[in-house]
Amino acid sequence: MPSAVDINWYIALSGILFVIGALGVLLRRNAIILFMSIELMLNSANLLFVAFARHLGELEGQVLVFFVITVAAAEVAVGLALIVAIFRSKKSINIDEINLLKG
């Protein structure tokens, strides 16, 4: 076991979290949980950014994370508003019931 974790560990963690998030998106039908999973995926990406910022000794990685968080916040706000709106009309947040796009 090495004396200190290096970037590879973070990559591994980030990858695992990302995959879990993706699985959440793919498997859950609850729209809210789906959104949470997306947040998780974004979070895993953020982690990697910060890790690389540290690894490369750059500040830009952190700046980017800042922006990602902003976008995520905006996205969650709009997404949740959507869910509320859909819930009002369909009385459900099961995304399998929201299939107006069905061909």
Binding site: A22, V25, L26, I95, G103
Partner: protein, 737 residues
């Protein structure tokens, strides 16, 4: 001092008239009928007459300026710099075009005056005069243009006017409910277009040979090329100039056959009588139909080169000879057909075809001046005859009108037709003025000394006699036939006793109509003076040294447009040919033929038919049957229905059922669909419509499969995105390098 710069006026004046009448004429006439009619009619007449005045000044200017052609540019027309193609709107004022101008505007003015009376009360009075001015406009473009292309503008334009005027009463149906007038107009236009096809092709050939379509450079170039013996590079192949010109001239002949109603395209002209009578007089007798003759005369250089070169068409006949033969045969057969006509205008129509045949034959024999001479005199007397017949018809209609009102219950339809000569008879007492002038015109047409027709026809026969014996015989027979049908017509119309109540009640026409007739009659009597031939060879010799002499005035005049050209070192081809010396033998024969024709008619038709239903005396003789030449029947009974069927077949069977339904739907589409069935297993065949629809339904069915993927479930889409992302990642990591 000359007035050549005024030349464009001959176009602008009729143009102004037609614009005025076309734009506001209708309103004027509708507001105040008699006054409006007078204004519109006289304005149109004035414009034509002013053009005549301008033509006279041009004539004087030419005569005082050495007879040389003047070119009056108006504006540029088509210029394609890179193709070296330039055509301008330029007027060519030379003796030939001025002659034509004088005839067209002079006779035209008289017919305009007549038409004011004739068209009185017609609801489309202003439209009629608009067309008339339009016609004059195009006719003047035709004869004054300095290039073939400009001539062609007029050529097609007068065809258009002919179409419009023949179908002038387009709302009238004949007894069988067929819009005969409109059909006749259409027929005329289509037949003319067949001729135009030839003219167009000839122009293309001329352009690629000479690089221009202007008369003068074309003629100069033709002579030069011919003399130098150069070959013309045509489509990569060297062709002798005479061969090219052979093609050009025979194509021109096609145009002439269309426009001047020669075999095999003459059949439109008799139908064209459906138009108002002034139209028949102006367009279908005096002016438009002579455009073909004008073209031949104008292109004399080309024909003479072909004649001189001895180039034969398909190794059979040289084109000038072909022209002569076509003319002569038309003259003969059309005269024959006139025998069997009962419609007074149809007789004249076939007579026109026949007389045009004479002109064309003359041009084909190289007697261009004789052709022009006959053209002029024919314009006088045939216009006179047509207008006279219009007067007769007018009178008959009035008579019929009167009896329909006078005797109640007499209006039963006995098939009365005011144009049918069988219902006439004895009109000389009812319509004395018309009778006298008609008589003059008819005798001129028959060729009785000393009327104009005698001199011009005699000159053609004279040339025929020196040209080819068989040709001469045919023309002589045609002259005999002419006299016969003229006699028949006179007897049936003016002599004997009235065979119908309408003829009994017929009246003389108003002075507005008869006065132009009188003027034309005077011209018919004096017209022969234009080109009185030398009586003796000695005179000819003497006067050749004094070309300003009285004899052969027209010949001396036209000499400047139809010049002698030097074609080879051996000799000069003289155009016109050696001066015509009056031949008593030919003249006597011509006179004899005319008289015997009239006498024969008298023998056969004296006092006949007794009633309007009596069959014609010749109806059982072979002459009658021969005279019904089957060409028109061939076209109208066989070709036209065949074409209609063919077009319908092409449109509905070939394009619709075969191409659209069978090829696209059955073959291509089904193959496609079966293939798609096989490959996707989800297909069923239904609905048949084109390969496009095939593609459409295939797409639709494929979409049916694909839409299974479009579940509308966001997660499914997410899965797809994920799949793609992973796929890309794997690709870029492991396979891209």
């Amino acid at each position: 001092m000359n007035t050549f710069s005024l030349a464009p006026l001959i176009l602008y004046l009729p143009l102004a008239g037609l614009l005025f009448n076309g734009l506001i004429g209708r309103g004027i006439v509708d507001r105040n009928r008699p006054k409006g009619e007078r204004l519109v009619g006289w304005l149109a007449t004035l414009m034509t007459f002013s053009a005549f005045i301008v033509s006279v000044t041009l004539f004087i200017s030419l005569a005082t300026n050495g007879f040389e052609a003047w070119f009056v540019p108006i504006m540029n027309w088509i210029t394609i710099p890179a193709a070296n193609f330039t055509v301008n709107w330029t007027l060519q004022v030379d003796t030939l075009s001025v002659t034509m101008m004088l005839v067209v505007t002079g006779v035209g003015s008289l017919i305009h005056v007549y038409a004011i009376g004739y068209m009185h009360g017609d609801p489309d009075f202003s439209r009629f005069f608009t067309y008339f001015n339009l016609f004059i406009f195009f006719m003047l473009i035709l004869i004054s243009g300095s290039s073939y292309l400009m001539m062609f503008v007029g050529w097609e334009g007068v065809g258009l006017c002919s179409y419009l005027l023949i179908s002038f009463w387009w709302d009238r149906l004949d007894k069988n409910g067929i819009p005969a007038n409109a059909n006749a107009g259409r027929k005329a236009m289509v037949m003319n277009r067949i001729g135009d096809f030839g003219v167009l092709l000839a122009m293309f050939l001329l352009f690629w040979t000479f690089g221009t379509l202007d008369y003068k450079p074309v003629f100069d170039g033709a002579v030069e090329l011919y003399k130098s013996g150069q070959v013309v590079q045509f489509g990569g192949v060297g062709v002798p100039i005479a061969t090219v010109l052979s093609a050009v001239t025979v194509l021109f002949l096609l145009g002439v056959a269309g426009k001047s109603a020669q075999i095999p395209l003459y059949t439109w002209l008799p139908d064209a009588m459906a138009g108002p009578t002034p139209v028949s007089a102006l367009i279908h007798a005096a002016t438009m139909v002579t455009a073909g003759v004008y073209l031949l005369v104008r292109s004399n250089v080309l024909y003479e080169i072909v004649r001189d070169s001895g180039a034969l068409l398909f190794g059979l006949i040289s084109t000038p000879d072909l022209v002569a033969w076509v003319g002569a045969l038309t003259a003969f057969f059309a005269g024959l057909i006139a025998f069997s006509q009962n419609d007074i205008k149809k007789v004249l129509a076939y007579s026109t075809v026949s007389q045009l045949g004479f002109m064309v034959a003359a041009a084909g024999m190289g007697a261009y001046v004789a052709a022009m001479f006959h053209l002029i005199t024919h314009a006088f007397f045939k216009a006179l005859l047509f207008l006279g017949s219009g007067s007769v018809i007018h009178g008959m209609e009035h008579g019929h009108h009167e009896i329909a009102h006078g005797h109640d219950g007499h209006g039963e339809d006995d098939g009365f037709d005011p144009q049918d000569m069988r219902y006439m008879g004895g009109l000389r007492h009812k319509m004395p003025t018309t009778y006298v002038v008609y008589m003059i015109g008819a005798l001129a047409l028959a060729g009785i000394f000393p009327l104009a027709g005698f001199w011009s026809k005699d000159e053609i026969l004279l040339h025929g006699q020196t040209h080819a014996l068989l040709l001469f015989l045919i023309l002589a027979l045609a002259a005999l036939g002419t006299a016969f049908y003229v006699g028949r017509q006179l007897i049936m119309t003016f002599f004997g006793t009235p065979r119908h109540a309408a003829a009994e009640h017929a009246h003389e026409s108003p002075p507005l109509m008869t006065r132009p007739l009188v003027v034309l009659a005077i011209l018919t009597i004096l017209g022969g003076l234009l080109n009185v031939p030398y009586l003796t060879a000695a005179q000819a010799e003497r006067h050749e040294m004094h070309p300003q002499g009285f004899w052969l005035l027209l010949e001396q005049w036209e000499e400047h447009s139809i010049p002698a050209i030097e074609l080879s070192e051996e000799g000069v081809v003289h155009l016109p040919h050696t001066p015509v010396v009056f031949s008593p033998v030919v003249a006597g024969l011509s006179m004899l033929l005319a008289l015997s024709g009239l006498a024969l008619a008298y023998l056969v038709y004296k006092g006949r038919p007794k009633t309007y239903s009596e069959p014609d005396r010749l109806a059982r003789t072979p002459i009658w049957w021969w005279s019904i030449l089957p060409l028109n029947t061939l076209y109208m009974k066989y070709f036209v229905p065949w074409f209609n069927r063919f077009a319908a077949w092409l449109a509905f069977k070939l394009d619709g059922e075969f191409w659209h339904d069978f090829v696209h739907d059955r073959v291509i589409r089904d193959l496609f669909v079966n293939f798609a069935d096989f490959s996707s297993n989800v297909l069923d065949a239904q609905g048949v419509d084109g390969i496009v629809n095939g593609a459409g339904s295939v797409t639709r069915r494929l979409a049916g499969v694909l839409r299974l993927t479009q579940t509308g479930y966001a997660r499914t889409y997410a899965l797809a995105v994920f799949l793609g992302a992973v796929g890309l990642l794997v690709y870029f990591l492991f396979m891209a390098n």
